[in-house]
Symmetry: C2
């Protein structure tokens, strides 16, 4: 098993914005993809789409304000199905620290390398959304390679 | 053991620039840190510094033009010492694809999460250097958190 790990920090007087950006359809659409739908409550399923290439369905496993959000991938690329995505939040003075883990990849395939870099760019989009009000969700996301 | 993995693609008519950016002091200073010194030949040691917080010494293990560059960390933060950094290069049409692996972390500590995100931002700096002639090496690097 192999994991993608990241850490970003957001300097914001309103740390609840980070949690909202991870637990509401509008918030998620502000940094990951414009085309976000579904039910963000625990037990619900969120649909993230990246036209024209597909997307991911995530079951919300856990959502504790200011502490943790957890998803399980229930549909999407074969390599993603069954993997989990955990967001741990904490406040350090002026900074909201986000520890991100996308766990349970069966093999460290080339697609995993791509997803790791792409997650980093989306985390910086989340940081920008929280700090400035403006993220870079798909289709306005940063292109990192031929795989977009 | 835990690994940091990334993948970026550079669209350039001069793929040799990617290899140069990984195997010359001037090239490395163009995307990672201004304060790069040392010997970039196989068997040599490169010194990367990020004033005022320290840096890394890397022994060059391997350098095959257009294919692979490999380093071993011989000095720096405790968690980095003994880890290896591999760069695999290949040409796919107009794109130079870089697979990056920073392998051999003893534990997936919080600092590893930070380094993973920070590597992604430096890889995008490398991409920018190759594609536009202008990277964002330290101290002009993207700040991703309270840990810089």
């Amino acid at each position: 098993m192999a994991d993608i790990l990241h850490r970003v920090g957001m300097r914001t007087p309103a740390p609840e914005k980070v949690y909202e950006a991870l637990t509401t359809v509008d918030g998620l659409a502000g940094w990951w993809t414009d085309d976000t739908k579904g039910n963000a409550d625990v037990g619900g399923v969120l649909q993230f789409r990246f036209p024209p290439v597909g997307g991911f369905d995530m079951e919300v496993l856990e959502a504790k304000p200011g502490e943790k959000v957890s998803w399980r991938v229930v549909d999407g690329p074969e390599e993603w199905i069954g993997t989990t995505i955990d967001w741990q939040l904490r406040q350090d003075g002026d900074w909201t620290i986000v520890l991100f883990q996308h766990r349970g990849w069966a093999e460290p395939v080339e697609f995993m390398h791509h997803c790791s870099t792409k997650w980093a760019s989306y985390l910086l989009s989340l940081k920008s959304l929280v700090e400035t009000g403006d993220g870079a969700p798909a289709p306005r996301d940063v292109q990192i390679s031929d795989w977009h």
